[in-house]
Amino acid sequence: MKIKTLDKNGYRLHLIKSNNFKTISFKIVFWNELKKEDLAYRNMLVNNLLFSSHKYNTNRKIAIRKEELYSADIYGKTYRKGTQIVTEICLSSIEDKFAEEGNFRESLEFLFDCINNPNINNGAFDETSFNITKDNITNSIKSEKENPNFEAYQKYKELIGKDKVFVGSILGTLEEVENITPSSLYEYYKTFFDDNHIDIYVLGNIEEKDILDIDKYLKFGSNRISYTSTYVNYEKDYSEKEEDSKFNQSKLFMGGSIKSLTEHEKKYESIIYNIILGNSPTSKLFQNIREKMSYAYTISSSINRLDGMFVISAGISSKNYESTKNEVMNQIKEMKQGFFNDKDINDAKEVILSIIEEINDNPWSIIDHYNNYLYFGADTIENQIQEINKIQKDDIVNVANKINIDTVFLLKEDEYEEIPNQ
């Protein structure tokens, strides 16, 4: 696999040559510092660009064109990475030799046509398509409340601080979406490209000379090259909260800040700590709270270095709340005291090594890793393997002693209504 990065006018082009796949993967990444008021517009924009275009002016026509191109897989998504907001537009196209001559090129032209020539009438996005996408996003925001895990995690994060960048839906608020109009979205479209860093990734069995002319499709480009820190940091005093819900099962979230960890610890030692404590079926939380006590079907911990956050979540009955919480606290204490053995450490290392070693099996994970390497402080695959192998027990105990629970939230099950057995 050969990787080449070219600084082009207004964007960076990354070419990754690989013969391991029968598809060509193409991704445009727009990213910028997250501003909450920007989220609703970003989502609406990407959804509208890919829903219909000037040439294919209904969603049906777009869908037909994709099928003609051997079901060209085109989608957009917006997500947060620490303090940064990332919007991707992706294309996965069957390589010409398995489809037909020109399939990739035509797919690419179709994609750029959607981006460059949106469905605009009289200086505004086409109202019919606009209204459908608006409705879809509005309903997606409403549906988030149907998911007990999502709901409980949001409320947990609000407890850390309502103003924090990680609080709230990535889709924006209902009011914000409601306030967007076809013409205000068009105004946003006109400045969107200047305001973002732009990276383009191409991966597959394709020669450099066959892709370099994509300049001609790019009617956009930004000159942004500087960017600010991608990390969220917070500190808070211990707090605990319970809230009622209409769900069947209670959701427990408890966690803490990882602000006091070094950069290296956030990338490596804490990952091993997390797996031993709660991120595998042999972990201390799974073995004790699920297997020994039978309190939960799901219990796991996770760590997010960009959010500076460590969190444990479990689905339980509220009658077991106090005992579950105490046992979690107890396991966290045992980690500090070094109550885990060499097998736990080696197994945890193998889990991570497995994931790292399989990055090259999937085109999107190759691209994501390279993107993380360039902009989000990730090391090369080789260095990651080395650093993981170096970790000793003392390093993990050291990390354990810097991690404390500062926030506990329980979304309680509905005690008032018995759901009849089916």
Partner: protein
């Protein structure tokens, strides 16, 4: 060992049946580090009534799933064993099968040996069975909060009159707590037998070594079930219940409509089960899918936000299910009813649809787990693996599709609605 080329790709499938009846399917995929290994027994949530040596047994719902949980109860814990290699090990139970699998890139041979021995015995105590009840009840409780899952379960409950597919795989809460060690031992000894099992291995693997190891580890695994028969009661064309509604914690109503279609109506067509499956999917996808005119119209009239369909089957019937999130659910159901009278299809869309199927074949070969599930689905649906699907697809013809459209009538149906719970009174 038999070898079959997969479509016109460079990948091949290797097949062997061992003397004890275990069937092995393996596909090496070049340039991958990862492998996927799965052992499947054709025993699932649906097999609660069976006949063994002339005696009929009626077991509690949820028992296959409960047994899957208890298979992990071993002195050399599977999680701990596979953990050594950083492999991901897990199991799952569906209506028709239970599977045990591991995915990773190290320790393939050790892992395979372990897996093959793992399913050859069950040693559990009454206490261990009792302990599992709490865990499974929490799992069931989690599912009750998932509106899509509840909708799907309601559809099954309404559509099937006799077939045990009307039950959920996880079982009822009452049944979960009455399952005993004796029940589990009986079902284990009845259904965990090599002639009822498949081994599928894909990715970074050597077929000869896989078969060699499987032979060696199966030397003394000779349990059989020649006198066992699952009882799937005769299923009528009518549905058990035509309408039901549930209140849940949803913001927007969800609705599903399902149609029950007797397979006998397709007898005169002279096509394979695989071809019939593709035609049926084409019929629904062309007439109601993302490229159909009617969908565009319904979208513009805000009849739904999100919609999808699925086609499932039992021995005697196909079930065509439509699901939607909609604020105008009654209007949508009415519109669908009317449209089903004369589904709109055309030859151009049919040719495009073929491209879509071919593209799926090409994409799937890049991922070991997708290849594995592709093989398993074929085995469950058609009894054997179809290696040249692209050839089949290219030869499908529009005339047959038109015939199929005409044959089907949508008379036997059920409707399920999930609507928002009322606000709880303030405490």
């Amino acid at each position: 060992m038999k070898k079959y080329q997969i479509n016109n790709f460079e990948e091949n499938l290797y097949y062997e049946e061992l003397n004890n009846g275990l069937k092995i399917y393996t596909v090496p995929i070049k340039n991958k580090k990862q492998f996927s290994v799965m052992l499947i027994t054709r025993y699932g949530g649906r097999d609660i009534n069976f006949e063994k040596d002339g005696k009929v047994y009626n077991t509690p719902t949820g028992i296959a799933h409960f047994l899957e949980h208890k298979m992990f109860e071993r002195e050399d814990d599977p999680f701990s064993f596979y953990g050594k290699f950083g492999s991901d090990v897990n199991a799952a139970t569906s209506d028709d099968y239970t599977c045990y699998y591991f995915i990773g890139n190290k320790g393939l041979e050790e892992g395979l040996k372990y897996l093959l021995n793992w399913i050859q015995s069950l040693n559990i105590t009454d206490e261990q069975v009792e302990k599992e009840q709490g865990i499974i009840l929490e799992e069931a409780s989690m599912y009750k909060d998932n509106p899509n899952r509840v909708l799907y379960n309601e559809i099954r409950k309404n559509i099937y009159v006799n077939d045990s597919k009307k039950n959920q795989v996880i079982g009822t809460d009452d049944d979960i707590v009455r399952i005993t060690k004796k029940d589990l031992d009986l079902c284990y000894n009845t259904f965990y037998v090599p002639s009822n099992m498949y081994l599928i291995v894909t990715g970074n693997v050597d077929p000869e070594r896989i078969i060699e190891i499987a032979k060696h580890e199966n030397k003394s695994f000779n349990r059989n079930n020649i006198n066992v028969k699952s009882i799937y009661n005769n299923e009528p064309d009518t549905v058990a219940c035509e309408f039901s509604e549930k209140k849940m914690n949803v913001e927007i109503p969800k609705v599903a409509v399902a149609y029950k279609i007797n397979k006998d109506i397709f007898n005169g067509l002279n096509i394979t089960a695989f071809e019939l499956d593709v035609y049926l999917h084409c019929l629904i996808n062309i007439s109601l899918g993302i490229t159909s005119e009617i969908r565009q119209k319904w979208l513009e009239n805000k009849l739904f936000n999100d919609a999808f369909y699925r086609i499932s089957e039992i021995e005697s019937h196909y079930i065509i299910e439509f699901y939607a999130t909609s604020n105008k659910e009654d209007e949508l159901i009415k519109a669908l009813e009317e449209y089903l009278e004369d589904l709109q299809i055309d030859e151009e869309s049919f040719e495009r649809e073929k491209k879509l199927w071919i593209a799926n074949e090409i994409r799937s070969i890049d991922n070991p787990m997708t290849v594995l599930y592709g093989i398993l689905d074929d085995l469950l649906d058609y009894g054997n693996y179809i290696s040249n699907k692209i050839e089949y697809i290219k030869h499908l013809n529009y005339k047959t599709l038109e015939k199929i459209k005409k044959i089907i009538s949508y008379n036997n149906k059920t409707t399920v609605k999930i609507t928002p719970k009322k606000e709880k009174a303030e405490k």
